[in-house]
Symmetry: C2
Subunit: 207 residues, 2 copies
DNA sequence: CATCAACTGTACTGGTCAGTATGGAGTTCC
DNA sequence: GGAACTCCATACTGACCAGTACAGTTGATG
């Protein structure tokens, strides 16, 4: 009960050990899974020991939640990096879908981490709430872009809300199924997947 | 190394303790998760002790794989029960999708078990191979029905293979997302989800 | 210099649990 | 009747690991 609580919920010491521990935890969790990584390893990967880790975080669950927050931050940074050179809502939407598909199919760390968190969410309401917020954020992100693309006449879609729902669900499903069908991870399949997902959002209008 | 191997791979003693242990394991695993259930509990739920369990199964992993096989058996039984009164490929397809959506959205045990197995598949190649076979079976099931419906003129679909791929992926995604959006589990939403998924397979032809 | 707070390391505890060792009970078959 | 096999229970081991106790160390501040 030191500064633990404020640290884990509000890591104001940006590049401090708290942050470094969260990064080490994320790296380990997303390669070997949460249950298979102990906090001694996390601490060691950050260059400290468990005694120090427990000063920054009150429990393993707090470490997991910090790793989640880091994952969200990185998603935001990467999705905006993948789309910042795009002009127009439709092009942005295409780039965002392309980035998401790529990370679903090729980024093992992404798959491992999200699968682990989903499994944890079955039993832990805090983790579930955290991940639900993130899912909601991504959904709203795609929803906003799709509405923009429809508004600008680049896209025609009868029911944007449901279309985005379905597209996001399909994306999650593809991420999961890719683990069992590695053959769908090739570049040509990746592109076809993007086209299929985009078609769920409506039909593109020529100018 | 007793009769363990033959038992776990070929449970010929149909209603024996081996089967009963697998059922107990499935029930426990699909409510509390695999890591959170120990083999003493599994044995106790089947009315025996761990010593007996280890005569029937060589390891916890063997118990998990037996529970998987039980899950596959039950899926086959339930999907055929849900469709056996249907006349025609399209009606069968509709009923199969409706059953799958219902079990995705409302059946917690189904969600917990499959999520746990997917998470385990990240690290265990045997479990992954087992689940991959099941995914392949379900995919081929929907593929066969869709081809039939197209062949009989009830359905029009340009690319059946890709359409089924996408529909199955969307179904998996919906199952996962439902954990975080309980509001989509209502009956009216369930029906809309079915219609949406069916529309992925093509457009129905009036007779 | 004394004091306090931030931070870290070492060593330990307590609980959990997969897997093992072993000694049976019941049955079958020679 | 005894040998062999099937099935089961009791008791134990050994490893793992989250969390705790506590004693530093460092640096800022009055």
């Amino acid at each position: 009960m030191n500064a633990k609580t404020s640290e884990s919920t509000n890591p104001h010491t940006a590049a401090g050990k708290g942050e470094e521990l969260a990064q080490a935890a994320f790296t380990l969790f997303s390669t070997r899974g949460i249950d298979r990584v102990n906090l001694d390893e996390v601490a060691a990967a950050a260059g400290v020991t468990k005694g120090s880790l427990y000063w920054h975080y009150s429990s393993k669950k707090a470490v997991v939640l910090a790793a989640c927050d880091l994952y969200y931050l990185r998603w935001r940074a990467q999705i905006s990096a993948a789309t910042d050179s795009c002009a127009g809502a439709y092009a942005t939407l295409e780039a965002a879908v392309a980035y998401s598909v790529r990370s679903c199919l090729l980024d093992d760390a992404n798959r491992v981490f999200s699968t682990e968190i989903v499994a944890l969410s079955l039993y832990d309401t805090d983790v579930r709430a955290s991940w639900a917020g993130f899912l909601d954020e991504t959904q709203r992100y795609f929803l906003g872009l799709t509405h923009q693309a429809v508004g600008s006449g680049e896209l025609v879609c009868a029911d944007v809300d449901r279309a985005v729902d379905l597209m996001v669900a399909a994306m999650e499903g593809i991420k999961q199924i890719a683990l069992f069908q590695p053959q769908i991870c090739g570049p040509q399949s990746e592109q076809r997947t993007c086209i299929r997902l985009m078609s769920l959002l409506g039909s593109q209008q020529e100018r």
